[in-house]
């Protein structure tokens, strides 16, 4: 069974540029999560979906970040105007249902110069 896949694996931007991250969860998993993991810190939840619906996006900086999961499968996380403080690894995870074990993808390591 394929795991969670993410692309790109790395991104380097100048401040003010936009970037999109893509995530393909494990087939059959209805819940998908996006985490931000700054260097030397634990993952911090940004947003999560059950199917195509956003369940919690309270930690997503809504002025610059957006996330969608239009068909309840793949998901895209977008940063509209990146800041140096956005430098982190962005992890996607999926689970069979909310509260079940989460499986993490390899992450996208973002550097904003």
């Amino acid at each position: 069974e394929a795991g969670v896949t993410q692309s790109p694996r790395y991104a380097v931007l100048q401040e003010g540029q936009a970037v999109s991250f893509w995530c393909d969860p494990i087939s059959g998993h209805d819940t998908l999560y996006w985490y931000q993991q700054p260097r030397d810190q634990g993952p911090q939840l940004l947003v999560y979906f059950r199917d195509e619906a956003v369940i919690d996006n309270s930690q997503l900086p809504s002025d610059r970040f957006s996330a969608v999961r239009p068909k309840g499968t793949n998901s895209t996380l977008k940063i509209q105007s990146a800041k140096q403080g956005d430098t982190a690894t962005y992890l996607c995870a999926s689970s069979l249902g909310t509260g079940d074990e989460q499986y993490f993808g390899p992450g996208t390591r973002l550097t904003v110069l």
């Binding site: 999560y33 810190q41 993952p43 939840l45 919690d56 509260g99 989460q102 993808g105």
Partner: protein, 110 residues
């Protein structure tokens, strides 16, 4: 709100010695679900252990932990550390979302 505390930022020990990484939590929920995740260098977090049963030991890959609701603790232990155990260990609590602790870096020396 919910929180998870890992008191040690770095634990360094010699191969063969026992491992104990501390984890305590705070929550309003009476039935917490606790996890330990391990993250090796340049890899993503991977589930190591999980438990929601009070006073029941759970084991995996030589590691074990017991959820103690009376002390709100879920400490991770292993009887004999191996070099390959060197990694970041995160304790996490599932309330309405998965909340991670700050992590403990375990460094095992030969």
């Amino acid at each position: 709100g919910d929180s998870v505390t890992q008191t040690e930022g770095l634990v360094t020990l010699t191969e063969g010695l026992p491992v104990m990484l501390n984890c305590t939590y705070q929550t309003i929920y009476s039935n917490p679900f606790l996890f330990w995740y391990v993250q090796h260098l340049n890899e993503s977090p991977r589930l190591l252990l999980k438990s929601f049963t009070d006073n029941k030991r759970t084991e995996h890959q030589g590691f074990h932990a017991t959820l103690h609701k009376s002390s709100s603790s879920f400490h991770l232990q292993k009887s004999s550390a191996q070099l390959s155990d060197s990694a970041l260990y995160y304790c996490a609590y599932m309330g309405y979302k998965l909340t991670f602790g700050t992590g403990t870096s375990l460094l095992v020396d030969p």
